[in-house]
Amino acid sequence: MLAAGEINASLSDAPAGRSADGTDRVRRVKVAAYRLRQWLGSPRPYLMLLGFGLFFAFWYLTVEVWKLPRFSQMPGPTTVISEWLSPDPTYGLSIYSPEYYQHIWVSWRRVSIAFLLATATGVPLGLFLGWSLRFKEYVFPVFELLRPIPPLAWVPLAIIMFQGSETPIVFLTFLASFYATTLNTMLGVESIDVSFVRAAYCLGARRRQVFWHVIVPGAMPFIFTGLQISVGVAWFSLVAGEMVSGQYGLGYLINTSYTMVQYPTMVIGMITLGVVGYATSAAVRIFGNYLMQWRARELAMGGEK
């Protein structure tokens, strides 16, 4: 991003462009530093750490100290963490084994493909559903009928429909994402204040211009909420798919380590899912904030409307 900005600045013949770009970047860094200081000065990070601490303490006490019957099969946090960080893991999987990254990579690739497909189809579909009442009347009932069918129920059909094991998994992952994205985009369009549309027509915009200048940016906050949900549910259904078929992936890892009674590895898989899922969701949020500067700045002003 920085590189692109520099190229733009050097290409532009207006000297003002360069300095504005530079000061803007300086300002952004300063704002980020200020926010970090604010955050560290507030009780929030410490409460967060305390929360994690309590969680691990609860886990440790129930499993390793009190040895409650319900938790007798469960590996304790020290077992899991030492296995995870061990160069020579008992069950053959830790941060030192390339196989671990292979699992993460395969899952991540499946989610990415499915998420991109769902975004590429769901956002336009949602925009048209919200924009054209007639289109909605045709499409939405079918959509609503298909939506409650859980991805797991699609498993047999997906296996019959698609060759190999890769495509069915991507298809299942896609489904859940697609519904979340489409529905939120549609709601986003419907939430746009009619005054904006009217104002645009008053100012002489034609229908197509209203679509690009009002409908699309106006629905953007909802679209990004939808995309965050969509990435989350993509991981849900990915694991469902991977447990059924496939040779790699975190879902597969969890399922096989269960059947092979490698419980610490199973928990490593679960925690990794949590971390990777959180990271992708955060990435979508950050990208959304980058695209919607207006919204970030408005909220920074205290959300006065």
């Binding site: 009217r198 027509y201 100012l203 002489g204 915009a205 200048h213 940016p217 408005e298």
Partner: protein, 310 residues
């Protein structure tokens, strides 16, 4: 705007004959500030009726409403909340149809028999109650929006004109901000500037200062009068604030409550430019008393009707 032109010639004397093409906004005009002598944008509302709902359960929002909005003047329409003022404004703007009657703009038919609703266009621009600056566009992008959409100006020209008009309105150094970053009073002024960029015949203001506190409001009023003195555009202003109505208006139209029709039309004979010292004059008080008497009765009726519905 492609409507039939109805022959009602001779009503106006200070205006050149209408151009023969259909897009008045594109007519030859170049200067940033239009000449103050240009009076245009007379609206005539004739026997307008608006009925909402079906035949079984219908609400007569506007009934047999007839009055004129003279060109180059500020006409303020007052009435109790929900009396149907906004319905009228929406009909003029082209957001709603009317059931019967006719509305003319400068002798051109806006809506009437065979043409239930007008098409919204840049000759009649609405400034909305809650403001409708696009929050996803910067101030300058908002202001430049109209001419760019109509293809009248390039982006560069529109931005230049926008900067000039913002400066003229005393709104410098805002252009790269987003509407969410400036005060609500500022936003109203930017919105009016955005409208004036298109050289409209009429500005339709729908209680634009309703959500502002009274101090900001008074600043807004003076700014609006100043803008008016500069542009001499016809203003159709809706409010239920009587002081605001008399302070701003050349003509105050007091509406009856549902169905809505003029109860009393007052010509406010206080010379423009007005400033806030007017508020304390005896003349102003007299106008206010006269209006309050008329409106109070309607407000009571509206209140009683509301009670019945509950």
């Amino acid at each position: 705007m492609a409507g039939a032109r109805v022959g009602h010639g001779g009503r106006k004397v200070n205006r050149a004959p209408l151009p023969t093409h259909d897009r008045p906004s594109a007519a030859a005009k170049a200067p940033v500030s239009p000449s103050p002598a240009r009076h245009k944008g007379e609206i005539r509302i004739v026997n307008v009726v608006k009925i909402y709902g079906s035949e079984t359960a219908s609400i007569r929002a506007v009934d047999n409403c007839t009055f004129d909005v003279p060109a180059g003047k500020i006409t303020v329409v007052v009435g109790p909340s929900g009396c149907g003022k906004t319905t009228l404004l929406n009909a003029i703007a082209g957001f709603h149809s009317i059931t019967s009657g006719t509305i003319y703009l400068d002798d051109a038919l806006l809506c009437g028999p065979g043409r239930p609703s007008a098409a919204p266009g840049p000759d009649r621009i609405v400034v909305f109650q809650n403001g409708a600056l696009f929050p996803w566009k910067t101030i300058i992008e908002n202001v430049a929006f109209g001419p760019m959409m109509q293809g009248r100006l390039s982006k560069k020209q529109a931005f230049e004109k926008g900067r000039a008009m913002l400066a003229e309105a005393g709104l410098r150094d805002l252009e790269s901000n987003y509407p969410g970053e400036i005060s609500s009073g500022m936003r109203r002024r930017v919105e009016i500037t955005r409208a004036l960029m298109n050289d409209p015949k009429v500005l339709l203001l729908d209680e634009p200062y309703r959500a502002l506190d009274s101090l900001t409001k008074s600043v807004m009023h003076e700014a609006l009068l100043e803008t008016f003195d500069r542009n001499q555009v016809t203003i159709f202003f809706i409010t239920h604030d009587l002081e605001e109505a008399i302070f701003l208006g050349h003509r105050v139209v007091i509406m009856t409550t549902r169905p809505c029709r003029p109860k009393k039309i007052l010509t406010v004979d206080i010379p423009h430019p007005r400033d806030y010292s007017v508020l304390t004059t005896k003349r102003f008080r007299e106008y206010l008393d006269e209006t309050i008497a008329a409106v109070h009765e309607e407000a009571l009726k509206a209140f009683a009707a509301g009670e019945r519905e509950r």
